[in-house]
Subunit: 460 residues, 2 copies
Amino acid sequence: MKTKSALAFAEAHRNENLDRLISFLSIPSISTSPEYQPDIERAANWLVAQMKAMGFNRARTFRTPGHPIVYGEWTKAGKDAPTLLVYGHYDVQPTDPDDEWLSPPFKPTIRGENIYARGASDDKGQLYTHLAAAEAFFGAGSQPPVNLKFLIEGEEETGSTNLGPFVEEHAEMLRCDVAAISDTEWVNPATPTIVYGVRGLAYLEIEIRGPKSDLHSGLYGGAVHNPLQVAAEMLAALHDEQGRVTIPGFYDKVRLLSDEERAELARVPFDEEELRAEVGAPALWEGEKGYTLLERTSVRPTLEIHGIGGGFTGAGSKTVIPAWATAKVSMRLVPDQKAAEIADLFTENIHRLAPPTVRVTVRRYGMADPAVIERDTPPMQAAVRALRRGFDAEPVFVRSGGTIPIVTMLNEELNVPVVMMGFGLPDDNLHAPNEKLNLDHFYRGISTVIHFMTELAGQS
Amino acid sequence: MKTKSALAFAEAHRNENLDRLISFLSIPSISTSPEYQPDIERAANWLVAQMKAMGFNRARTFRTPGHPIVYGEWTKAGKDAPTLLVYGHYDVQPTDPDDEWLSPPFKPTIRGENIYARGASDDKGQLYTHLAAAEAFFGAGSQPPVNLKFLIEGEEETGSTNLGPFVEEHAEMLRCDVAAISDTEWVNPATPTIVYGVRGLAYLEIEIRGPKSDLHSGLYGGAVHNPLQVAAEMLAALHDEQGRVTIPGFYDKVRLLSDEERAELARVPFDEEELRAEVGAPALWEGEKGYTLLERTSVRPTLEIHGIGGGFTGAGSKTVIPAWATAKVSMRLVPDQKAAEIADLFTENIHRLAPPTVRVTVRRYGMADPAVIERDTPPMQAAVRALRRGFDAEPVFVRSGGTIPIVTMLNEELNVPVVMMGFGLPDDNLHAPNEKLNLDHFYRGISTVIHFMTELAGQS
């Protein structure tokens, strides 16, 4: 009865939910660049205001050495009701290259079935479904069947640096029976997808210093080692011809898939040509030989170059041997690799590769360990039933290639079952121009979360 | 007598010459970027005004599809007097990285024995010695012993694109007996240096396009080939472990040095450790095995990477597989390599190296053929005597690693003997922050040019 009325309330208030999502998406809460600090604060305060207006008994921001963490709770469902911790993040990726956006990234725009804006899918739109679901119970004159705790950070896109210490310090406040996260995508538009694993991340930057200043390439070419050439040669040496990462020890702790897991993954409905057309590359990459594409993007570790700095990249030509070069590199990790160990192996390897003609420094950015979650638990089955009802389709379980640092903290350290029940689609353009969220998924996502809360409480 | 009075006039007007050099150096005539177009015009007009004020019978700018070419002449030395064509360029390199300049690049600043500014050595300061020498004759109440033609372009730093057609079209106007260029450096601070060869240049840009937009590296890493990885691997493949360029056919037309030339080069006073300390690299590069450092930087061809674009190089981290990568690459060429042929070989090689996962385009920027000039000619010997007098030291002959496109045009096509008599020093920071010119070299350079004009006319 409560569920039905909450569903009806959400249905009747689609426009209000869309308006509020638009106001949330309009805040350029980019976490990677200090100039957006005021917007980070605005986004955090916006969430606090929403939760207060909704009737939460507590909602506030917590200062950290970085961006504030938003926490809100409503714990009046009773002692027997389970407690659900919802995690999300209000920060977003940078928007460059800006000239490739068809509408401004922070002017949310509806085109066709989608709303376009930075953060639409990752993660503001998905996070908002949980707020809207809770509100639907209140709005319908009843109350949620579970106790609710919302933990919303502003540093997910920069490696969740301050989240770990916060979770440790506030373990009592965050105590819960289950955690839910909507920050993932479906394998295809027809198949609701529960993610039961995330890859870890080790993000590093290499700095290569050669001469003390830029030099004329005609006068010094052949005498002074070009740091960009050194960078290209070291970066090229990080993969072999089989697409494998060459860092000694890199694969040592990678857990092999069971035959059953491989068979299951092979059954996931997936069309490589569709993916190729969607990304627009002339051909997909074979990557690490001996593994299927879905294996390579979820259960195998990878290494990517994100940018190479130094020298001259402006319009026209400049004949310079640059004084320095930098390279940003990250590795996606799988169980049982540890981010700190892999960062050590990477750093040792770079120093081994570096020629005596340059000085090399390696810096660390975000670090996160990978996680895999049990699937045959009551919360996971509650999510299966909720997705079935919300979308009239049978969900699948997959491991994601992405990284959500909180998952490891909750699952491995606090022993809380984590349900990753996302509403994104594979073509949502995460971290890219023209990020979007399908509006039908947004509305059905709200219904699904209503069902999920009900299922968790065993009241269906 | 004329010579003595001209020398005395120059000596007495050091301050005026310095002031005028400062005003010339204050114009940010950067040729590589369209935003400096008005400054390019200012620099060209400044030169015209100088020549008019000095009493030249003709001085004007010529429009080209690019930056204007300045031409001025004084041809009243009589039919029997030889005609000297002075070539220089009023354009300068970009100034980045700007934060490494100790004083602003276009606010000429004297520190110690030097004047610091972009263009101080390359080429405004060196070019100005010829103007000041001519003026010294007029100022002393007489006139230069040779007919003078000044050809000063504004595109040397962008490959002299429009100079070739201009020289062809105005062959009659530019007719001369000898050409002089002061746009080169000495091998060390004690040894006046005449350059008798320049390397050619083929400057290209590779564009590598993979996916149609930037992608999330967690979700697509392992499935989509990273264009920056492709760039690193292709660029790394351009040198082998012997430091040789691997482009098939690259060395086919390289003229081998005679034993005599090698022996002569080995006698050039040169200290590798001094060079290493000057450039500040932890060690010099061995480069192409089997050749000495001076050979590698002058008589052997090289390949340099100038910049790698694409992805994210800002502060912090961004986990992106970029849609594209670019690389700016140039090759310095030696006789009998031809720039157009080498550009073809490079392009073919890049397409051969490109994997099917990306689309690759190669664009051409500046192209210039190499040149070597006869040394036992009267104008070269006139330069030897002039340098001896100007600097009280014995000059040496070397081939430069740099590129001056006009040299090939004059020497190979118009059959004019070219004398490259530079006043720069090896630590002038050409194309780099804190470019400078030694002031003693500036004043002695003026005297040397006065001697040179006299020697050419056979009036010493």
